[in-house]
Structures are given as C-alpha cells and as structure tokens.
Subunit: 334 residues, 2 copies
DNA sequence: CTGTTAGCGCCTTCAC
DNA sequence: GTGAAGGCGCTAACAG
C-alpha cells in the first residue's frame, strides 16, 4: 500500500506508457488507442489517481473550480456560500471558498486573496463584501455586497436603503418617536445606505433627527456593545435600529445587563436575518436580506460571464423584507 | 495599468534583481541586504504582487493553509466551517474549503478531493462526513462526523446514540406510545446509532418495537418526503423522530399536505439543530448537535497534529442536548 | 550577499 | 498512436 499519493508518473509506469499518454487518456483527448486508454484508466482506478489541482492549474487554462473569497467564515458569508453552492448544483463546477484569515484585518485582503488564487486555480471569483477591488482582466469577478461603490464590477447586493426605511417606519408605526441608530462602519457603502434610510424614514414621519441617538458600532460585537452602552446610558431611546444583526445582538446583551426588558422597555430591530437572530429568545425582529439568493445569483452571473455572455443586468439589487419577531412592541405608555 | 497579474519575474525586473532574491525578500529569508530588501518590497507594493498559492505550493513544503473538505455547502457543513474558522482565529492559518460538487454523488468524493488538494496545497485536512478514507501519510487529517467507523483517523463527532435516546425518551414522557422513526442512510454510522438509540429508549420504556413505524429517508429531502407519506399514511404514529433535521422538515411538509396539525395531531423531533430548524414556525424540537464546537475542536486537533504533537485524545465525542421547541406536545387524548 | 540551477506535477506542442 | 521536451511560477540548494 503506497503511502505517497499517486502521480501521473506512477500511472504511466504501471500502465507501461508515457506520462503524455496518460494525460491524454485521462482528459479524453483525441489520439489514444482504445486498448491503451482502457489499460490506463484501469491503472488510474487501481491507484486512486486524480490529477493534482495544483499542478494542472499551472498548465491548463481551466480548472472547473469557482472561487468564493470571503474575509472570514461567519454567519453572513456562510449563508452566501450555501447560495452559491445551490446555484452551482448540476453545473460542472466545484466550489473553493477561501478565507484569508491571516490578513483580513488589513484592508485589501480581497486583493491579496485574489492574487494568490488567480494564477488559474479558479476560473472565476465571487468576492463577498470586498472593500477595494482591482478589476483584473484575467478571470470574471462578481462582487456580492461590495463595501464601496461598485466600480465597473458586476455586483449583487440587497436593498439596504429600502430595508432601513422599512425597519424605521415600522418602529414609527409602533408609536416610537425616540429611535436610536447603531451605525456600522462609516466607510462602508451598506452602512451609509442604512443610515440614510433611517434618516429618510424619520423625515417622512416628521421626526427631527437627533445626533445624540446615533452611535457607531462598526459592525463589530465589542464596539457595538460599547456604543449600545452609550446609547442606552443617558436619556435613552425607546427603540434601537441596529445596522446589522450582530450589532443588534450586542444591544440585546447590553439591555440585559442594564435590566431592561425587551420588548417591554426597549424595542430592537436588526438587519440581515442571520441564523442566530431567529435562534435566540426572544427572537430578533430584523430586516431579512436574501443571503441565499444573493449567493445563487452571483453564481449564475459568474457562469454567464465564464460562458462569454454579457448579461444585460450586471448590477443586481434584491429586495429586503422586514421580519417582525419578538423584540419589538408598541412604545410603552409614558 | 497592467491587466495581467504580476509575477515574481515582474518584480525582479522592476527591482533589478533576480527572482531568487525577490523570493527571499518576500519570505523574509536570511541573506538579503537591507537596502535590497527595501527596494524589492517597495516594488512588491507598487505592483500589488502576492505569490501565487499554486506555484509556491508546488515547491514549498508548507502553505499555511488548512483545508476543509465537504461534500457540499449546506446547513450542517456551513456550521462546521464557522467553527473551524473560529478555532483558527489568531492562528497563522488561512482556511480553504472545498466542495467537490461535481462528484459528491459518487462514493469516495473525499478521496478525490483530498487527492486533488493534497499535492501540498494544504498543510492539513479536515474532512466532514467522509465515508471512505484512505489514510494518507502525507498530511494530518481529522474526520468530523465520519460516516463509517473511524479507522485510525483522529475523529470528532457527537453523541448520536445518546441524543436519539434522549429524543425518544422525551416523546415517551409526553405520553406517546406509537413513535415513528424516519431513518437515515442505512450505511452510515450516525444513522445506525440514531436508530439504535431510538430502539433502546423504546425498550427502556417497555414499548415493543414495531417495524411498520420505521421508514428510510436516506437523509435526502425527497426520499424523506416519500417515507413520511408512507409513515403518516396508514395507522399513523402520534409522534415521529427523524434522524436529521432535513428529514424532520420533510415530515412537517407532508403533515401540512395531509392537513395534520403540529403538534396537536402529530409531534415531530429532528436531529442536528440546523439554523432552518429554529427559523421556521412552529420551531422544530430537535437534538442539538454542537456543530460549531465540532469544527472548532477539529481545527485545534489539526493544529496539534501539525505541530507534531500526539494528542492523548484523538477520538472525541461531544454531548448532544435536546432542545424542546414547538413541534412536540403531549399525546392527544384518545 | 546575490544569481544560477534544478526541479515540484502536469499538459501541450511537436517529432517520431 | 505514442513519447520526448519544454515550461507554468516559485523556492531550495548551491555557486559565485
């Protein structure tokens, strides 16, 4: 029992032919005698040979692998990944997801990751929440929920502005007037749009914007917790709209610390609808972002691009939907 | 603006040195003059160069990348992936997840995937729900929830037997006597253990095992639906324990088709606690498998193995826990 | 300290 | 129909 993995040489030696012949037989190229091919394939089976993705990608133009580049595997990206996988079902493509954890703190992780894999390991790339993008002409690239204005890149994202308007309006309809906002990272597109939607809904309702009701949580659990403490510390709002679910969960944590009952004393709305939002008790009211569809459509877009098509729609905006659950209620009687 | 990605040659030419020097400078090897290194690094920055993972992995022994091989990206594997990512946080390892979608129907997908990546693209592999395993001596391998008896492979899995006993006993305590079982794939270890747990709990309760109350759903939504139809068609049970959540969701779908109310007419319990289980209404009562921890511990085990340690514990069994939700109730008065 | 040499495993010409 | 040779981008030895 060989402990080393079989290479094309092993197969060639076992079948008594040259490596070139093995390569042709395996890839079904023209110019190999029927009998020879049979013999080679039998050895391939026996030795458990499969061409090294690494080696073949250095020579071959195509690998049949689509890359999904993410900053990290967390709830949001995991949902996208499931969608991509579903979109590729039945296609001849494998999926390779790469999280450049080592550098994802530094800006430009996506450029590094892309550069590392792009040497033809993958035939196309789907980048999730990229911040800066150098459109490489090498392979098709699709951006999902880009953090900056999507340059010329085909993009799939959901309606942050509309979702934020809907969430805020819902709180207004519940009678809330003092509605806090826990903002995301000021440099991110989605964060800015959600804040804009919040302000728009306030304006629509004739409520003056109060800067003291806005704190920045940067989409990070810890920073969000600090921001929430500030927000809930003084003359606190009766409701908080958080720019994403992770931040909303932080708000709930702080509320518990402070002995505030949710939703009796405080209503909370998030954004994304990550699995953790519905799993906890009370379940989080949030704006559902169709993460699964985001991934699926990105996969379809990538396949179209690879096929050389030029889709009319290369900038796709998917609708969001408010999912009322248990963390929101009418404003307590004053 | 160069449209082609920069290679080490481009950097070398730009900096006026040889490719070897660039390689050394980039990798911080000993033996490069300070000034030269500075100049090279400046060019690296300017050209946006990053070494090709593909090319370097062909020469170098280590890549700093841990591979997670999954049959597909679905709820279970996505949770594992999040756990692995968490376990690797702060470590110097990147994560590469690979779904051999093209062949995951065929047995031995894991062998193929491993063979393809193992040419040193990854320093260690975590295989999720592998069926057959050829222990390669090349890199450390950890199995998560293996489908067959774990050979000599380091393994992390959860207590299928105990969880099944607990789930069934819970139904018994609710007064159910006619408890159906929707089985998984007969060839899989976890499936067998769950069935064994079901039967054990029946025996403990002094309830005779009735083969007519058992159908095989193979863990596939469609097959599970058919099995559920059979199960609920004739003299139906008052409760069904499904071998995993996907199957349980199929049971709920069929129950709805048949106009059965859950939990009033029928109680349903699943296994896994995938996000979809708690997201739906009524929320599914299920046995929670600590998927996140499964992944995290697998990552830690892999790192220990890579460090050359030989962990005392290489076969780890994590406890499961029943999560009562809204799909179970006391047996309806007859 | 720096450049040259020799492959890693595979696929693609191009002779034979 | 088959094999030998070259090279993808990179790094580890060894020379200079």
């Amino acid at each position: 029992m060989p402990t080393r993995r079989a290479t094309i040489h092993d197969v060639a030696a076992a079948a008594g032919v040259s490596v070139a012949t093995v390569s042709k037989a395996v890839n079904g190229r023209y110019g190999v005698a029927e009998g020879t091919a049979q013999r080679v394939l039998a050895e391939v089976e026996r030795l458990g040979y499969a061409s090294s993705l690494v080696a073949s990608s250095m020579r071959a133009r195509q690998t049949g692998v689509i890359g999904v580049l993410v900053p990290d595997f967390e709830p949001f990206t995991a949902e996208i990944l499931k969608g991509v996988s579903a979109g590729l079902a039945g296609s001849p493509y494998d999926v390779l997801a790469y999280a450049g954890v080592r550098h994802h703190a530094s800006a430009g992780w996506e450029k590094r990751s892309l550069q590392r894999l792009s040497g033809t390991l993958i035939d196309a790339a789907i980048m999730v929440t990229p911040t800066v993008i150098a459109p490489s002409a090498e392979i098709p690239i699709v951006a999902v929920d880009p953090h900056t204005g999507h340059g010329d890149l085909p993009t799939v994202e959901s309606d942050s502005f509309g979702g934020a308007v809907e969430a805020t309006r819902y709180l207004v309809e519940l009678g809330h007037r003092r509605i806090g906002f826990l903002a995301g990272r000021p440099d991110l597109r989605s964060a800015k749009l959600r804040e804009a939607g919040y302000r728009q809904a306030l304006t629509d309702a004739g409520i003056d914007f109060d800067p003291r009701l806005v704190e920045v949580g940067r989409y990070e659990p810890e920073a969000a917790g600090d921001a929430a403490r500030t927000l809930l510390g003084g003359a606190r709002p009766t409701a908080v709209f958080a720019a994403n679910d992770l931040s909303a969960l932080a708000v709930l944590g702080v509320a518990a610390e402070l002995g505030l009952r949710v939703p009796e004393d405080l209503s909370v709305v998030g954004f994304d609808d990550i699995p953790e939002a519905s799993r906890r008790l009370p379940a989080l009211t949030t704006v559902r972002q169709p993460m699964h569809r985001l991934g699926r459509i990105a996969a379809e877009l990538a396949m179209a691009l690879m096929a050389g098509e030029t889709p009319a729609q290369t900038s796709i905006l998917l609708p969001t939907r408010l999912v009322p659950r248990a963390t929101t209620a009418a404003v307590p009687a004053a």
